[in-house]
Each structure stands twice: as structure tokens, then as C-alpha cells.
């Protein structure tokens, strides 16, 4: 965690542009207590200032509210990160670098109205080839500070319902989304049904279902035009059928990890590009649970495809975790979605509207974000200044979810006491 976050608090951290807001700075250790003297705040627009030591930055007087609190009023002109540096008059006169520095982000209206949600659209449990039971997986995601996650077992929708039902009565601000990974006959493209009200894979469990699927796919296949020779039309048509069915049940259809290399690539390049540009999928899993080089190549492909096809292709970053304890991929790659609420339909709307970034945090590596510059810039701020606070609060709730699942005595009472109230948190840091 950013050191300053443990010693100081600043709220709101996210503000609307061009509105006078009162910002409170609070010290979290009496050693930093404010004295009976004048304090000033320098506001530095991070991407507007050049690298000289803050000459000509806006300096405003701060008001001492108490020995632990200071406040100042300011209207932030542009959408970006601002450094807030606290000075005594003496320090200001001497050109000193000040007492400490915090960060704040100002947003234009559209983004300001949305809240950042950390999520994973793709994971597995013992409901297919994962390691833990659905309920345990859910508790582990919460422990790591996720606002939502979907359990998407191979060909199985029921495990996600099981996870959802286990914690439904607790009314947590943790959104357990229903889902599945759909695998149709003779098609090795992996497609996630995120948030669908029903299973799509279900149909392949009976012979009649498979037969009617094949019949419809053949029809789609015969109507396909202008595809490159390298594209397998049966697979193309199957994917189109699946994605359409996912939308019928109000789910988000995600094209997963084409460059995963079990032996050779999961999906050939031309096939991937052509399906990406067709718009048949709602989102592309630009980062998946795989080694960095594989994700790195997928990112390169994504931009090549986008430039060639001039299409918007929404993105998500997923872990595809097959285990959540001491195992690779869990929590390495994820998505920050900017949605109006933490509800599945709002998350889907946000992703389709390109309000998402994929975030890469492999073990012991620096944070990287992928998406539009606007959201990448904001995401870096959030990863450094918002999620550390948010995630710390989720740890206890996640841990207690497991105790509730295990029916431990007093677990329900304890989880009531330390529930994360996302609205209250947003109220404090965003309003």
C-alpha cells in the first residue's frame, strides 16, 4: 500500500471537474497532528505541469478544523490526477517540499457518475476442473477485494447458482454473478456466458439439443459471406450461434484467450481477427489466465485487429482461475468496470459501452493497465489510491463468508458487524 495512505486520509478522492469542492485531509497518527498555525495546500495538475518543481502551481489556504483535520476548497478544472501537497507557511516561504503529498482525481460527468468495480468474469470451481467448492471460491474473491466475480465452470451453470444462493441472505455488497463457460460440439473456442439468466450450454446435454444446434449452425454457415479462406466457417458459425443465445438470456458473450497455448494456439490468428471484427461477441478477454507473453501477444493482436477493422471491441481482463489458494492466475489479471451500480445488468452495460480496463498484476510485478488512455490513467490512480483502502475492508468480510459457509458459530453475527458498505465508502470518497 502507498505509504501515505496509512498515515493520512484524504476525502473525497474523486471529484467532479469545475465544481468547488471541500476536501478534508486527516492525519491517522497523532505524530502528524496539525498545530495552531497556518497551513497551505498546493494543487498540482499531474499531466498539465511540466517537470519543474511546481513553480506557479495553485496554492490555497487550508483551514485547520481540529488537530487531526484540515480542509480546503478548490475547483479542479480538468479531468486528471492532482497532487495535493500540504505546507506550513514557513515551508512555503523556504521553497521546501512540504509535509506530505496525497492524490486526488477529478472526472468529467460521465465517468464521475460511475463507480469503479473490481471484477473477474471467468473462474472455475470443483463444479468443473477447479480446485475449491463454489462457495470457497466466492469467499476468496471477496478476500482479495473483488466487487463482483462470475463463476463460469466448463459446461456447468449450476455451480454459479450454488455460490450465489449460499450468500444471498447476507445481502452483501459483493456481487456473485451467474455464468458458465460454453463449449459446443467440435468447437474449441472458449466462450463465457457472463450474467445470463439461464444456461446456454444446457442445450448440448441432450441429443435433440445438439442436433438442433447443429442444424441451425449449418444454416448460419451457409449464409456466411466474404470470409478469409483461413477461417473455419463451422467454428465461426458455432460461435455466432452461442453468442446470440447468450444475449437471448441477457448475458455478456466473452471471447476467451485465443492465444492460450495448451499445445499450439487455442485459436488461429485469422480466425481470431475475423471473429473480433465481426462484432459477434460482446467483449474480448484481452488478458486471461496465462503467461505474460501470451497476454502480451493478445494485446498486440487486439490493436492490429482494431486498426484493421476500425471497430470498437470492448475488453475485459480475467484470471480464468482454476484454484484460489497458492496457485497461478488467481488475481493476476482482472477488470475494473466503471458502472453506475454494482448490478450485473449495469456491469454488462458498462463493458459494452467501453467503460472497462483490463489490469495485469502478476505476482511481484508492477501494475499495468490496458484500454483507452483515459481509463488507463484513471485506473492507475485507483490501483494506488482507492483499491488499497477498499480491499483492506473486504478482507475480513471474505474471511467470514467462508466461516458462514462452514456454519461456524457466531459467523453470521460477526459478518453483520464488519460488512463492507460500498455506498458509504463511495459517499465518503466520491461525493
Amino acid at each position: 500500500m502507498n505509504k501515505a495512505l496509512l498515515s493520512f486520509d484524504l476525502y473525497p478522492k474523486v471529484v467532479p471537474i469545475k465544481e468547488a469542492v471541500v476536501v478534508v485531509i486527516e492525519v491517522l497518527d497523532e505524530k502528524y497532528a496539525f498545530k495552531d498555525m497556518e497551513y497551505f495546500v498546493k494543487v498540482v495538475a499531474v499531466s498539465e505541469r511540466i517537470n519543474e518543481e511546481f513553480n506557479g502551481d495553485t496554492t490555497v489556504e487550508a483551514k485547520v478544523i481540529s488537530s487531526t483535520k484540515l480542509s480546503f476548497k478548490f475547483s479542479f478544472p480538468k479531468e486528471e490526477e492532482y497532487f495535493i501537497r500540504v505546507y506550513t507557511r514557513d515551508m512555503l516561504m523556504r521553497g521546501n517540499r512540504g509535509l506530505f503529498q496525497m492524490s486526488l482525481y477529478a472526472l468529467k460527468e460521465d465517468l464521475y457518475k460511475r463507480i469503479p468495480l473490481k471484477g473477474d468474469f471467468h473462474s472455475h470451481s470443483t463444479g468443473s476442473d477447479g480446485r475449491e467448492s463454489p462457495e470457497i471460491v466466492a469467499s476468496r474473491y471477496r478476500e482479495k477485494g473483488f466487487d463482483f466475480f462470475a463463476l463460469t465452470d466448463h459446461g456447468a451453470y449450476e455451480p454459479s447458482e450454488k455460490a450465489y444462493n449460499a450468500f444471498r441472505e447476507l445481502n452483501l455488497d459483493f456481487n456473485i454473478v451467474k455464468g458458465e463457460e460454453v463449449h459446443s460440439y467440435d468447437n474449441n473456442v472458449h466462450i463465457v456466458n457472463f450474467g445470463g439468466k439461464k444456461s446456454v450450454h444446457q442445450q448440448f446435454r441432450t441429443k435433440e439439443g445438439t442436433d438442433s444446434f447443429l442444424k441451425e449452425v449449418r444454416e448460419i454457415e451457409s449464409s456466411l459471406k466474404n470470409l478469409s479462406e483461413e477461417v473455419d466457417t463451422f467454428i465461426y458459425a458455432s460461435c455466432q450461434w452461442i453468442a446470440t443465445e447468450i444475449r437471448k438470456v441477457e448475458g455478456l458473450a466473452i471471447f476467451c484467450h485465443p492465444f492460450w497455448e495448451p499445445n499450439s494456439r487455442n485459436v488461429p490468428v485469422e480466425q481470431s481477427i475475423s471473429m473480433l471484427n465481426s462484432g459477434m461477441f460482446d467483449a474480448f478477454e484481452i488478458l486471461g489466465g496465462q503467461p505474460v507473453h501470451t497476454n502480451n501477444k493478445q494485446v498486440a493482436l487486439y490493436y492490429d485487429a482494431k486498426i484493421r477493422g476500425k471497430n470498437e471491441i470492448p475488453i475485459v481482463g480475467n484470471s480464468d482461475s482454476h484454484g484460489t489458494i497458492d496457485i497461478h492466475w488467481f488475481d493476476y489479471t482482472k477488470t475494473i468496470v466503471f458502472a453506475s451500480k454494482n448490478r450485473t445488468e449495469d456491469i454488462i452495460e458498462a463493458v459494452k459501452g467501453n467503460y472497462s480496463v483490463a489490469v495485469e498484476t502478476p505476482l511481484n510485478e508492477q501494475i499495468r493497465a490496458y484500454g483507452s488512455y483515459r481509463l488507463v490513467n484513471y485506473a492507475h490512480f485507483l490501483m494506488n489510491h482507492w483499491f488499497p483502502i477498499h480491499d483492506a475492508l473486504c478482507v475480513e468480510e471474505g474471511r467470514l463468508m467462508k466461516e458462514v459457509y462452514l456454519s461456524r458459530e457466531g459467523a453470521r453475527e460477526r459478518i453483520e458487524m464488519c460488512k463492507v458498505d460500498l455506498n458509504a465508502l463511495i459517499e465518503k470518497y466520491f461525493r
Binding site: 499531474v46 495448451p262 488461429p268 507473453h293 492490429d304 493497465a369 490496458y370 488512455y373
Partner: protein, 443 residues
């Protein structure tokens, strides 16, 4: 899913210690003979039979079967197996060799080859750095030491680009010239025009641009020329307009001395960002620079934002501005940034004008390799894919051969060894290329 260890940083493919495999890079659609030499006893036995599976990595869907092509070969000579194959599509191919023993198959080697289309096949992969410093400006070591350290790390070329100084790069270059090495020391400088906070590299120019404004008169003339530049640029403040025009002036003068102008690290954050985001966007869009330093000597979050902005602009314009990756190293011993960022340039020759031509035509990828982090390659998908192959299969061998030469360069500079000593450990690049590219003799 499992981790493929061979892709982790610094991990030489185990196969490269056990076998010598050549060529590694072949031209598509032409039959080639691949030689696999076991460097150890008892692996390839005379008169034994071997099965070879060749799996194209990207042109087919993985359907659970290991391969779609098998060859059977006999070992005619102890330690050597040869087979002929025609690789049809540009991509990586995985070759798996098994010994057939009493109708059992025992895997004895697994390695990669890369097939290329004509244009890329005729270009050499060169590892280089376009941006570095010596103690002649604010770096740590002498220019000659910096040069030797780059060679030690397997660079084919590097430019010394001290702040406001061109001559240190010439000194480094001329010092090693008599040795006739296949290591290219490129003249260069970091240009800081008056009152302009944008850092611009003059890579390979045959004269200095900084020197144009280092005298009082030169400075006055430069400023008045910049002020006279009228441009359609009208989006920002007056202060920015001056900076914008100043950049134009610098780029024009770099072009006049046949150098490559590089727009450096806009999102470097010494305090706040180096170049304001609005101006950065204008500068990239304008096309005034020959190349953009996509990743440079800074943290991943700084680079990550530069990459996002660059991709936004690529999408908006439908055009990819040429990129480079460079370290901006200010020291080469035990210090951050050196060798973390570099470029792979695909160039017809290891010569300055060819490297510049290649970068301008998009034949370059930027590499990010922080210690203890996995390697990332940025650029077009085609070159990224090839770049990874080279990092794992070409450069480990190549860099190994450069190591001795780099060490001897330093000893030579320090007067600890003679020219003849350096010659003994010289890396013969052409020989290396001829061995590992197919049709070597025709190149």
C-alpha cells in the same frame, strides 16, 4: 493451464545447451535442411531411427492432437540428425524429436524454428538502445566504458546521447574504430533547445544540433527562428505553441544531419509529467518526429500510460507512428534502467542509415524487461510474435558470444590488454547469421 518456463526472463532454452540447431530462421515455401547436433554423447546414435513432429504454433486450432506432420529419419552420423522440410506459413514451428526404440517413442529434443516471409527474412534482428548517457553529462561512467557494457549485454548497436553533448558519442565510436568490431557505436545526443522541456534524441546524425544554439548568437538566432515558425497549431496556450514550434525546429535540424528524431518519455514523472498530456498528443499526431520512445527508463505505470495513449492515437488515426524502446540509462553498473528497455530493429544491415530506414518503416519493436519481471514486447502483432521467438532462441546464443568481446573492450580501454587480445574473442556476426539463417551463403 501450466507455465511455460522457457519464457521467463534470463532462462536460456535448455535445448540450446544440449543441441546446436541450425538454421533457426528459414524462408517460407522453400525446402530447407535442418541440422540438429547433439553436444553430448549418446543422444543421437548412428543407425538409430527418429521421429520428428512439426507443429505450427498459430495456423491451426489445437484439437488435442499433438501434431499434423510427422517425419521419420535415420541418424547417419554420430551426434547429428538432419531433416528436410518446407515451412509454409510465417510463424513459429515447434519441432519435437523422439527416438524410436522397440516401437517406443522417447522424446529427446523439443525446440522452435521460425519461418519468415521474404521482407522480414532479409532483415537481421538487431538489439539496440537509442538513448543512453555517460559521465560527460549526468551519467556514471566514461563513454568507452558505457560502450563496453552494452556489448557485454549483447547489443548490436547503441547510441550515446548525452544531454546537450554530441562529442562523447564520437569519442566512444572513434576509440573502438581501429578494432573493426561488428558492434555499432552510433553518434548521437539529447537535444535541449532553449526553453523547451521536451527531450529529443538525435540518433545517428552526422553533426550536432545542440551546438547550433550553444553560443550567444546561435541561441538568439535559434529563438528568433522558432518564434517565426508559423504553424496551424492553435489548440494550446502561447507557451505551448513556442514549445511545439521549438520541437519542429529541432526535428528539422536533425533531419538535415540525417539523424533520426525521437520523442522521449513524455510521461516520465520526475515531479509531475515531463510533457503535458495535451501537448504530447499533439506532438505524436503531428508526425514531426521520426519515432516515439514507447517504453523508456521509467516505471511500468509511466510506460503503461504512454502505451495506452499511443494506442489511442493509432486507433484514431489508423496509422502507427514508428516506435523504439530505449533505456535512457544513466549508468551501467548496478543501477536501474540499463538493459531494462531496448529495441529489436529488423534491418538489412547493422549500419546507421539502414537502422533509421527500418525504424521509419515500422520494422522495430520495443522491449520491456524489468529484473524479476516477465518480458513484454510492444509493436505490431507480427513483429511481437517474432520478437518473442528471437528473445528465447536467437539472443541467448548471440549475447553469449558478445559477452567476451564486451569484457575485452573494457580491458583494452583500461590498457590491460592489447588489440590482438580483443581480436581473439571477436564476435563474427556474419558467420553467426550465415549459420542460423537458412540459405546463409546466398545472403
Amino acid at each position: 493451464m501450466y507455465i511455460i518456463l522457457k519464457y521467463e526472463r534470463g532462462e536460456m532454452d535448455r535445448e540450446m545447451f544440449k543441441f546446436d540447431i541450425y538454421p533457426k530462421i528459414v524462408k517460407i515455401d522453400s525446402s530447407v535442411i535442418i541440422s540438429v547436433v547433439s553436444l553430448e554423447e549418446g543422444v543421437f546414435l548412428k543407425d538409430s531411427h527418429y521421429k520428428i513432429q512439426i507443429t505450427p504454433l498459430i495456423s491451426r486450432i489445437d484439437d488435442g492432437q499433438i501434431s499434423d506432420r510427422y517425419l521419420k529419419v535415420k541418424c547417419f552420423e554420430e551426434k547429428l540428425i538432419q531433416f528436410e522440410y518446407n515451412f509454409l506459413v510465417e510463424q513459429e514451428y515447434i519441432v519435437r524429436m523422439c527416438k524410436i526404440e522397440n516401437s517406443h517413442e522417447i522424446e529427446c529434443a523439443k525446440f522452435s524454428l521460425y519461418a519468415l516471409e521474404d521482407d522480414l527474412y532479409h532483415r537481421l534482428p538487431l538489439k539496440g538502445d537509442f538513448h543512453s548517457h555517460s559521465c560527460e553529462s549526468d551519467g556514471k561512467e566514461r563513454p568507452e566504458i558505457v560502450a563496453s557494457r552494452y556489448r557485454e549485454r549483447g547489443y548490436d548497436f547503441f547510441a550515446l546521447t548525452d544531454h546537450e553533448k554530441y562529442y562523447p558519442s564520437l569519442n566512444a565510436k572513434s576509440f573502438y574504430e581501429p578494432l573493426g568490431l561488428d558492434f555499432l557505436i552510433v553518434p548521437g545526443e539529447e537535444v535541449h533547445s532553449p526553453n523547451n522541456h521536451v527531450h529529443i534524441i538525435n540518433f545517428g546524425g552526422h553533426a550536432s544540433v545542440n551546438e547550433l544554439f550553444q553560443s550567444k548568437e546561435g541561441r538568439d538566432t535559434t529563438i528568433s527562428e522558432i518564434c517565426e515558425l508559423k504553424d496551424s497549431f492553435s489548440h494550446a496556450t502561447l507557451a505551448d505553441e513556442y514549445v511545439y514550434n521549438s520541437c519542429q525546429w529541432v526535428c528539422k535540424h536533425i533531419a538535415e544531419v540525417n539523424g533520426l528524431s525521437i520523442f522521449c518519455h513524455p510521461f516520465w514523472q520526475p515531479y509531475a509529467v515531463n510533457v503535458q498530456s495535451g501537448l504530447t498528443q499533439e506532438l505524436i499526431r503531428s508526425g514531426m518526429f521520426d519515432a516515439f520512445e514507447l517504453v523508456g527508463g521509467q516505471t511500468a505505470s509511466e510506460n503503461s500510460r504512454q502505451i495506452a495513449l499511443y494506442n489511442d492515437i493509432r486507433e484514431q488515426m489508423g496509422y502507427s507512428m514508428p516506435i523504439v524502446g530505449s533505456s535512457d540509462s544513466h549508468g551501467t553498473v548496478n543501477i536501474a534502467w540499463f538493459d531494462y528497455f531496448k529495441s529489436l530493429v529488423f534491418s538489412k544491415k547493422n549500419e546507421v542509415n539502414e537502422i533509421i530506414e527500418s525504424v521509419k518503416n515500422g520494422y522495430c519493436v520495443a522491449i520491456e524487461s524489468y529484473p524479476d519481471e516477465q518480458v513484454r514486447v510492444y509493436g505490431s502483432f507480427r513483429l511481437v510474435n517474432y520478437g518473442y521467438f528471437l528473445l528465447n532462441n536467437w539472443f541467448p546464443l548471440h549475447d553469449f558470444l558478445c559477452l567476451e568481446e564486451g569484457k575485452s573492450m573494457r580491458e583494452y580501454y583500461l590498457g590491460q590488454s592489447k588489440r590482438s587480445d580483443v581480436e581473439k574473442v571477436k564476435f563474427d556476426y556474419n558467420r553467426f547469421v550465415n549459420k542460423y539463417f537458412s540459405e546463409g551463403d546466398q545472403r
